[in-house]
């Protein structure tokens, strides 16, 4: 039997606050399982325990109780992270390194070296479209560029699991869309993605499965389509429907005793509108 990509069992994390003489329960008896090849979203407001959970999974923080596993290996084992790529919430990299040096550095930490490392670095710089900025120091990168170099370093070891903490935080809609496409590309290649976010629309677009955390506890969990479907309602979208046809449909509904909850014209999303407007080249 193959192990799930991530397993969390009975996870509790308590932080002691010695100066205030109190304790903070960040995560309380959390259970979750991320299947291989899935895009799994951890949702929740700030302080709900998302980042702490991810840090425990990555072995950066030790649990007070319970255990976490990556592909069946305890997260505290060094070897559990060999096939894992991680993009932290904000791009935390050395500003004095250039884009290329950053990838070479993280590549060496991932066990790559020599020509293989150089080839992988070139490949990833091309993938995240930073070839021209490869010799620029990260101190001069924009937020979107930093996020892209962060993604590139996460993909260096050809991971089987990618953990993304707020991958689109502070990125413009264009960059955000690129990251979304990249996540979908990872999924198509069978790579498991575990991400945390509070950008709900985006999560809805890309995640197969979500857990919603509040005060360190999972309050909702399941497949996205199951969670969002309102079982007793049906939506019809009509194109070029005349007022007469609409009146006829309403009449039919009234006669059959069906309640019409809402009638409205569908709207595009603000993100879609923004992308269409900014992609169009100015005339003249």
């Amino acid at each position: 039997m193959t192990n799930p990509a991530v397993t969390v069992r009975g996870l509790t994390k308590v932080f002691s606050l010695p100066f205030r003489r109190c304790r903070l329960i960040a995560v309380r008896d959390l259970n979750l399982e991320v299947a291989r090849g899935q895009v799994y979203g951890l949702l929740g407001p700030n302080g709900s325990g998302k980042s702490t959970t991810l840090k425990i999974i990555l072995g950066l923080v030790s649990p007070t109780k319970g255990k976490t596993q990556i592909f069946g290996r305890d997260s505290r084992e060094l070897g559990s992270r060999t096939a894992v790529g991680f993009l932290p919430e904000n791009p935390y990299f050395y500003k004095y390194l250039t884009g290329e040096e950053t990838l070479l550095f993280f590549g060496k930490l991932s066990g790559l070296h020599g020509r293989g490392l150089q080839a992988r670095t070139n490949e990833l710089l091309a993938l995240v479209r930073l070839e021209e900025a490869r010799h620029r120091r990260l101190g001069g990168y924009s937020k979107g560029m930093l996020q892209r170099i962060g993604l590139a370093q996460a993909l260096l070891p050809e991971p089987k699991l990618v953990v993304l903490d707020e991958p689109t935080a502070g990125v413009d809609p264009e960059g955000s869309r690129e990251i979304r496409d990249l996540i979908l590309d990872l999924k198509s290649r069978g790579i498991t993605v575990l991400l945390s976010s509070h950008l709900l629309t985006q999560v809805q677009e890309i995640c197969d499965h979500v857990s919603i955390l509040s005060h360190g506890v999972i309050v909702r969990e399941g497949r996205v389509e199951n969670l969002l479907t309102i079982e007793n309602q049906t939506e019809l979208v009509l194109e070029n429907a005349t007022p007469e046809i609409l009146a006829e449909i309403r009449g039919l509904l009234e006669r059959s005793g069906t309640c019409l909850v809402e009638q409205r014209q569908p709207k595009t999303s603000l993100e879609q509108l923004f992308l269409e407007a900014t992609r169009a080249k100015p005339s003249g």
Binding site: L78, Y92, G111
Partner: protein
């Protein structure tokens, strides 16, 4: 797949990155100050007899090397881990299969490499100036018109006063002292709340380290020297390193050879202290919440 819990390649990558970071932070600017100090003192004392001039040049140079390398070891190491924690650059590193021991060793080795290059550069500046002044004085002596026997005696005396091999163990001890201070600073920074706290603590440790040998001798003379006193003093010597054995500059400047046993003892002490503090750093850091 079995993953090695310690890899020299990962440590080398971390050390190289630490070194690059420090170099790009322009910490080597202190060398400029060192060069100015040397040239200034050389010009100022050129009016004295050549023996006095060389003596002062060696004194100033080795003293400045000692101070600069100790300061660099403390100030630069104090910010290595706190900065990584504050800017959270530590997350993507430790999220890779990198052990915390590798991270600490890499940081220390990067710092030791920087100190080695700094001391090498200062040594080159110092010996270069010494050689330059020696050549000028040799030329002046040769052209002085004195009888050949007197010139030969003056040249021999000049050569003995300038460079001698005894300088090199003295410089090595300065490096080992800086390495010890870097390792202790790394340990303090693993639990300190700020860079300032680490630096201030280290300045205290530096002074206590220099004074404790004298205090110990005095104390043992005035009190019973039973096992309890020895244990207590041993503990003090562990917490505050005994820096006195590294202070052989006066002997070196005077041209006295450092006895091999004394040098070996100081060198061994430096290596043991550096390793013990690195172990303490790991003990404090390996379970720390990030």
């Amino acid at each position: 797949m079995q993953h090695p819990s310690f890899s020299p390649f990962r440590v080398a990558a971390l050390a190289g990155n630490t070194f690059t970071g420090l170099v790009r932070l322009k910490v080597f600017y202190f060398l400029l100050l060192f060069a100015l100090l040397l040239i200034g003192s050389s010009l100022f004392f050129a009016r004295l007899s050549f023996q006095a001039e060389f003596q002062i040049l060696k004194d100033v140079s080795l003293g400045a090397m000692n101070i600069f390398s100790s300061l660099l070891a403390i100030v630069a190491t104090a910010q290595l881990i706190p900065r990584d924690l504050e800017e959270r650059t530590i997350y993507p590193i430790l999220a890779k299969p990198v052990a915390r021991s590798e991270y600490l060793i890499g940081k220390l080795l990067g710092m030791l490499l920087l100190l080695a290059l700094g001391i090498l550069a200062m040594t080159a500046l110092f010996l270069g100036l010494l050689f330059f002044r020696e050549q000028i004085l040799l030329g002046e002596t040769t052209r002085s018109g004195l009888p050949p026997a007197q010139i030969a005696a003056a040249i021999a005396s000049l050569k003995t006063s300038a460079f001698n091999l005894n300088l090199l163990p003295g410089i090595l001890l300065i490096y080992l002292k800086a390495a010890l201070l870097a390792s202790l600073t790394l340990f303090v920074s693993t639990f300190a709340s700020s860079n300032v706290f680490t630096s201030v603590t280290m300045v205290f440790v530096y002074f206590i380290g220099h004074l404790q040998a004298t205090a110990r001798t005095y104390w043992l003379q005035g009190h019973s020297s039973g096992w309890l006193a020895h244990t207590f003093l041993g503990l003090v010597a562990l917490v505050f390193p005994d820096l006195q054995p590294f202070n052989l500059i006066d002997d070196v400047v005077a041209g006295t050879a450092i006895p091999l046993a004394l040098f070996a003892k100081a060198a061994a002490l430096g290596c043991v202290y550096t390793s013990v503090y690195l172990f303490f750093a790991w003990a404090a850091f390996h379970e720390r919440e990030l």
